[in-house]
Amino acid sequence: MISLLQVQDLHVAYISGAGKVSPALEGVSFDVLPGETLGVLGESGSGKSTLALALVRLLPGNAEIQKGAIQFEGQDLLRARPRALERVRGARIGLVFQEPSLALHPTIRIGKQVSDVLAAHEAASRAARHQKTLQLLREVFPADASRIADSYPHQLSGGQQQRVLIAQAIACGPSLIIADEPTASLDPTTQQEILELFRMLREKFNLSLILITHNPPLLAGLADRVLVLYAGKVVEIGPTEQVLGSPQHPYTHALMQSVPPGLDEPAKDRKSRLRVIPGEAPNLAVLMNGCRFESRCTDRMEQCAEREPPAVAMSEVHAVSCFKYGE
């Protein structure tokens, strides 16, 4: 199958006022197939939000894409003109962010905010836009779309606001949705409802989905594949069951160990100390030769501090960047 999105050797860095360069992403490569859901798993500072913004060229002014290529639907977004980017962003690629209350305008009714997305991308009459807005809101609020359309953001719960953002994201019939921590500010029941909504919409509209999160259990049962980011690098990528179920990279392994035991585990395993990853993620402004995880790794070897481990293929679909599995 031909990839919908192909990212190759992407390097992004933040440049401080004094000219100091802090790399955020280094050599990130992956692809997303049509209809596929890719989970991006990373902790604070791993570069996962930088990745989301880089994909749609919305990085802040102090960030610089140093090299790489982002092929989406046959065009290289890194070389596209601003006009062309505007036709992609919000139309072919929909975006959903973490804090829906910040993303919505507080004094404009929901219906208008959804219809504005249509107005920005499609030439249609007001009446047609109004029709389509209601239709979109019905996708995410089957029961009371018209009441929601007349509401202001503050009258909605966090989960409802997130549904509005999702309606905006799918408004122009995109082929890809990028969702950055879309459920982080919601409580668990609402979280599940939003994930269920994503599941339903991706089937219905054959959407590809990039779901970015720091919380591994969210990806189980939703993502087809998982990409693990650590300190700006892809350390492991593969099918969800393999990456979460039998993680091969020492970082992924340690991360999965630090999740509190589920309720299906015997009770005696609780009330004990959780396994932790010693130390902290590295400061990327300091130049490093070897593996980014080396100082915290329990399996470290001599070459780890000297050279960067290459991506080793565990199978056709599963790759791990670690010397444990070869050069």
């Binding site: 668990p188 599940q192 969210l218 189980a220 630090s258 999740v259 509190p260 932790v276 990853i277």
Partner: protein
Amino acid sequence: MDRLLIVEKIEKRYGRAHVLGAKQEVTALLDVSFSIGRGSTLALVGESGSGKSTLALCIACLERPTSGKIVFNRNEITVLDEKQLREVRPQIQLVFQDPARSLNPRFSALELVSEPLLVQGRLDKREREARARALLGQVGIPQEKALQRAEEFSGGQRQRLAIARALSLEPKLLILDEALSALDCSVQAQIANLLMELQGRLGLTYLFITHDFAMAGHLAHEIAVMEQGRVVEIGAADEVLGTPNQEVTRRLIAAMPRLTAEAHAPRAV
């Protein structure tokens, strides 16, 4: 077991002035009763808006319940006047969800941790610094970072600072209001371990407010489940998790993201 905190039938109503002048009443807490044993942890679990944080404010003496009784350390605090409350408050400390917002970013670690002592007029300057340094050590902040500003610390380390600050007045009860929710998984585990270690060492009592049942099951001895201002279920952590009695408890447990095999069931394409 000796109960450090006893909450008896408390109720909290807020009056809200309506646009047209008619007064509306909102009941935030209704007939809430429970107690926490000295040195143990009670987790308070519930969905947003169930009243968890209002309850925390009432216990921390920052809100007065409309009716009912709270007994802390054998002392009925609901009848105390403002001046007497000032004596009680230092013994009950809060740690919030987002240390980036709850700590002054311009203060150094040392200033943050010694400020409560300064405000309370305890110890002299040198003693305060020594005590603050000892507290930083207890929560695992290296001494060489004592003068670093809050904004220069990572999220996990800032939460360690918030805990050290809360401990500076030697409280008996710590209210942890979603104190782990904003942290990364691996950092959550580090802070959870720190909390357990401190509890063992200092005999602290925790009220752990969360919507994460897995962490509640891990940290707490008892779990209370709240819904619409009421405690609908309470019991030993393993019992509540193993044999939940209430619909809302079952719903919250079912909503927990899991890593188990059935979650990986292939989807129909």
